[in-house]
């Protein structure tokens, strides 16, 4: 995937439109979540409509890292490596957003900032750690050799996430420490709020990806020019 100026502009416009729509739908259109016994979710529940899409987009971004790493190892070519790197960077941003918004919502809804027994939380945290490690590895890599190492780690990291998920799921099923979950059933409007959020964040991701690829392209051009004039 290479940078395409036209696609970049399209994604920018789509992002702005869908994000505004998503904000409207999430904050104003969706009803308050109520359960049968009359419990009403606090207003902070609306964070859900941004928290879940952020986590979802970060998973997609890391999936892209995985696939791009495989392609880079199989067929080579700088573009795949750049795609993996850019996607990892943006994925970490979205994952960080998810990890920050999650506890804010959690405190309002459960009274706790974090629940280690909730496998989703631990998995997102592990994913975040793995891809931070990927960035540390890739960031220190100038040559194609080191890009290859990062690609290998991208594959290993992605495989370890479902493994960790299985492991923690099994562990917590054997050692339950259940705190009553308070998510009610989703009404159609809530579902739409979520979908809008996912669409909006996906366009933001695609736009940021285009921009990041553009910056990498510029960097490569600068390196080429430097070599031509005999600089460092």
């Amino acid at each position: 995937m290479k940078f395409d100026r036209r696609m970049g502009t399209i994604f920018l416009i789509l992002s702005i439109v869908t994000v505004l729509l998503a904000i409207y739908v999430a904050l104003l259109y969706t009803p308050e979540v109520k359960t049968e016994d009359g419990w009403v979710a606090p207003k902070a529940q609306k964070i859900f409509y941004f928290h879940v899409p952020a986590a979802w987009v970060s998973f997609v971004a890391f999936g892209v890292v995985f696939l791009a790493s495989i392609q880079f190892l199989r067929v080579g070519g700088k573009n795949w490596d750049t795609l993996a790197y850019a996607s990892a960077e943006i994925g970490v941003v979205f994952c960080t957003l998810a990890i920050i918004t999650g506890p804010i919502w959690g405190k309002a809804e459960w009274g706790q900032y974090w629940r280690w027994e909730d496998t989703k939380l631990t998995i997102t945290f592990i994913l975040w750690l793995i891809y931070l490690a990927y960035l540390v590895l890739r960031g220190g890599a100038e040559s194609e050799d080191k890009a290859r190492l990062a690609a290998v780690f991208g594959i290993i990291g992605f495989v370890c996430v479902p493994l960790s998920f299985i492991s923690s799921r099994i562990w917590y099923s054997f050692h339950p420490n259940v705190v009553a979950s308070s998510s009610g059933s989703m009404s159609a409007a809530s579902g739409m709020g979520l979908t809008m959020g996912v669409i909006a964040f996906t366009f933001v991701y695609l736009f940021m990806l285009q921009k990041r690829l553009f910056i990498h392209e510029l960097k490569d051009k600068i390196e080429e020019l430097k070599e031509e004039i005999g600089g460092i």
Binding site: L73, A133, G140, R148, V152, F153, I155, S164
Partner: protein, 231 residues
């Protein structure tokens, strides 16, 4: 491929036992970690309990596994670092064999050496914490074997990656720890705790998990090691 892997493993173990420097530093490091834990828990253990062993029981498994992992990381990284710095890795790559044999050979030699450190740590622990294993040594040892194998398999692959990059030691820890937290450490610690209570049969799920993850890691190592070593 296996005969070549065994030859490489034997070579590594022989060279290590000539100087014994790495195994010695790993054992001393594990001793220091256990000492650090002992003093860290001084306040907790100062309270009189029904029996010392009982007060210590919940601590055994976590402390042992953290010690295994950190002392083990020292050895894992050194094994590749030595080869790369002295250029012997290039020599190994020149041999007309499947390069995964290097990986398997390293796994075997690292496994053997880290097992020595594990046994030493277990002994140190019972010394420093005055803990009696009560005849549960065999199940505990079985769990340690399985868990260490999983750890070494993924650790060898990650160490081969980090040895080629800048800031080896820190990078190795940063790369390895998120990968092993849930896949190796959690099941191992749980299974060891159960084994210490004499209930190793309850740990079947954890042991199967460890076995499954070790298998997945070996497959990944076999598939990806060639790419790590490419020039």
């Amino acid at each position: 491929m296996m005969p070549q892997a065994l030859t490489i493993a034997k070579k590594d173990i022989k060279t290590e036992f000539r100087t014994r420097e790495m195994i010695f530093s790993m054992v001393v490091f594990s001793l220091l970690i256990i000492m650090a834990f002992r003093f860290a828990f001084e306040f907790y253990l100062a309270e009189p309990a029904d029996s010392v062993s009982e007060a210590v029981l919940p601590l055994v498994s976590p402390i042992l596994w953290v010690t295994f992992c950190f002392a083990g990381m020292l050895g894992l990284l050194t094994s590749f670092a030595k080869e790369k710095d002295r250029g012997t890795l290039d020599g190994l790559m020149l041999v007309p064999m499947d390069r995964s044999a290097i990986y398997f050979g390293k796994v075997l030699s690292n496994f053997f050496l880290i097992l020595i450190v594990d046994i030493a740590s277990v002994v140190f622990f019972s010394l420093f914490f005055a803990f009696d294993y009560n005849g549960n040594v065999v199940p505990v040892f079985a769990v340690i074997l399985l868990g260490t194998f999983g750890f070494v398999v993924i650790g060898t692959l990650i160490s081969s990656i980090s040895v080629n990059a800048r800031g080896r030691e820190v990078l190795f820890a940063i790369l390895l720890i998120p990968l092993i937290l849930f896949t190796v450490l959690l099941p191992s610690i749980t299974a060891t705790s159960l084994a210490l209570e004499g209930n190793i049969m309850d740990a079947q799920v954890e042991l199967r998990l460890l076995g499954a993850f070790a298998a997945v890691y070996i497959a990944m190592g076999y598939a990806l090691f060639n790419f790590v070593l490419e020039e």
